[in-house]
Symmetry: C2
């Protein structure tokens, strides 16, 4: 038996970690930071998942130079510049930064993570000059969470305390950035999770992967994958306690909540819709159809228009390349049946009910293919004028 309760102060909820941020001049609004750090008193085990984009950003290449199973006690994070498509120079810039940093604070195997525009070198001098402004024993999670934002409209920060009984407990906390479907340079999503649970390294790797599969990998980022996507889990092992079931549950909850925050912060998005596909020949086929739905421009614009046009749902499933049969398919919006073989054209009453559901900020589209046991749920948002505006105007 264990008990999970929300904790205060974000990253500061986990003993043994420090965090903070400053503005080095990359972000015009000086009241918000653009460089943040997370530091641990002791070396941490690390699990990490990175983008599948072939053009991995320099910080990811830098990470991969460390040997398997290395430990770290420091992550430097910047916004406004992705340090991607910057070649070997991009990695050298990180080495230069870390060398300068090591004269200010003791660090072991430091990591870096970046988000922002692709194709520009980091302003190394500016960042080094700012190291004097950072207080490496601060616990300012709010400031760090805000410093890593790009088009995000609100900070994403969560913390939980897990009590295992007899006074034994551990903590987990995270900051995260990412705004809905797409971010500046392709849906960049950064997530830093820290814990004092005494968790085996093998569990860290497996549970982080599993958590990502049920959270960040299920939200619509329109099929694009950033050069910089990163989710990391760091443990300083300090609590002396661990329970796999409890850790798995709290990690999944934390990552899922962060993923939903990203969707709700969708660029110009007003609605959060879950797309459940069941009755597919396999989970893989259900995933294909569900992902097609949450990525479809036509479905997204119909959501924005609050139009209960189930034809777009059906057609997207039909075009997704999976096995399907229009006589066996059923479609529900929440609990309202809006398509089945024996029931096609919407009568006025049912259409009115469908409108009511579509006006909600959150609802479920559920499609049963009637062919097997495969199922999958992904999460998407609507596509509004505001989205086009944000993405047309970004950078310039």
């Amino acid at each position: 038996m264990y008990k999970i309760t929300p904790a205060e102060n974000g990253l500061a909820a986990v003993p043994g970690f420090y965090c903070g941020a400053t503005n080095v001049g990359m972000r015009p609004d000086k009241t918000q930071g653009d460089v943040a750090f997370i530091r641990s008193e002791t070396p941490c085990d690390i699990a990490a998942v990175f983008t599948s984009n072939k053009f991995q950003a320099a910080p990811i290449k830098h990470f991969q130079r460390y040997p398997e199973g290395f430990q770290t006690d420091f992550i430097l994070i910047n916004a406004k510049n992705a340090n991607a498509m910057t070649g070997e120079k991009g990695v050298e810039d990180i080495d230069t930064l870390m060398a300068a940093l090591s004269s200010k604070v003791e660090i072991h195997n430091p990591l870096m993570s970046s988000t922002g525009v692709i194709g520009y070198r980091l302003p190394v001098e500016k960042i080094i000059a700012a190291f004097d402004m950072l207080n490496f024993t601060a616990t300012d999670s709010d400031k760090a969470a805000r410093a890593i934002m790009t088009t995000d409209q609100f900070k994403k920060e969560l913390a939980y305390k897990v009590e295992l009984g007899d006074g034994a407990c551990f903590h987990i906390a995270a900051i995260c950035k990412g705004a809905g479907m797409i971010n500046p340079s392709m849906a960049t999503m950064l997530c830093f999770i820290i814990t004092d649970a005494t968790i085996p390294k093998s569990d860290m790797d497996a549970l982080l992967l599993d958590g990502a599969e049920h959270s960040f990998n299920r939200i619509s980022v329109d099929g694009d994958t950033s050069t910089n996507d990163t989710a990391m889990l760091l443990s300083n092992q300090q609590s002396g306690t661990y329970d796999k079931a409890a850790f798995s549950e709290v990690l999944n909850r934390l990552m899922f909540e962060l993923a939903m925050m990203i969707l709700k912060d969708g660029e110009g998005a007003n609605k959060l819709v879950s797309f459940e596909v069941k009755g597919a020949r396999s989970d893989a086929e259900a995933q294909k159809a569900s992902t097609a739905l949450s990525n479809s421009l036509l479905v997204k614009t119909a959501l924005f228009g609050e139009d209960p046009n189930w034809g777009r749902i059906a057609s997207t499933i039909g075009a997704s390349g999976i096995s399907c049969d229009e006589r066996k398919l059923t479609i529900h919006y929440d609990d309202l049946l809006i398509y089945s073989d024996t029931f096609r054209e919407l009568d006025k009453e049912r259409e009115a009910q469908a409108y009511t559901i579509m006006k909600k900020e959150q609802f479920k589209v559920s499609c049963d293919l009637g062919l097997g046991e495969g199922s999958y749920t992904s999460y998407g948002c609507d596509l509004s004028y505001e989205y086009v505006k944000i993405n047309a105007e970004y950078r310039t």
Copy 2:
């Protein structure tokens, strides 16, 4: 040697064919038809390519009931209703229509084609009542071309005359509908091509497929495929002349021009951009990257914003799942190099040149992967506020 020249009067340029249209009340604007027909004096050979959507519309199922190699002399086409996801009843409705039609005009193996909203039965009574308003010996191609439009802003109609020397000649003509990235119910594209060339049936099949591969299959329809997509080639064989090279050239030209018309008529689109990918490991890899570019929301919004942000181009290629290496990649906008390994950040002058190119209505993005001989070009358009408006408001 042969000579290809444009011909007047659309479908009427081909001897032996009739066409026309009327408004049966599905389209509120009574000055524009919603039901059109194409009729041949004599039975025609047919080649056809259909949507790959698993939920094929009723007219496609109806077509497929005919035996291999059948001939037809009549196509009925309607807008405003896709007759898709209408089950067996949808096919029965076509039979009912054709039975009624056969009492008005002699027809053999008649075909139907539909475009519009998914999930509603055809207004069979209304359509039958309108048969008396159709003049089956009319040659009103303009009216037919306009009747099949949905969100199209202009009619799509082309005709060519091909002179083979010594007075021998044949004709080819087409009407087509489709507006840019996406149409009402998923990018529906209908194209009807007629000819009097005495072309072998096997050439018809092969050349139509080849023509579609170089035209309609290369324009961005955002990865969605309609339940109704159809391209048909009918030949009445009347001219007594044929030349494979000439026919192939004129058919490809006609289909490519129609495809570009569809892109130019893109819902809310202002720019037509070709995405050439070369130097790929294989043509298939080049196609994957090129298609990813013409479908990418981030690329499309950058085009709309006229932002020379090559990072979005690079990141889309990196995410497309093909082999690539940032040290070997080069990117050009028209003739302007905007990315190479030795040349990354844009200087002011080059950025100004890039802006000038992006302000054009038509330009080329060319990416050389530097890895092999594979190449592919696809065609896309920008994504504007207008697109979202059209697709959010459609139907309601």
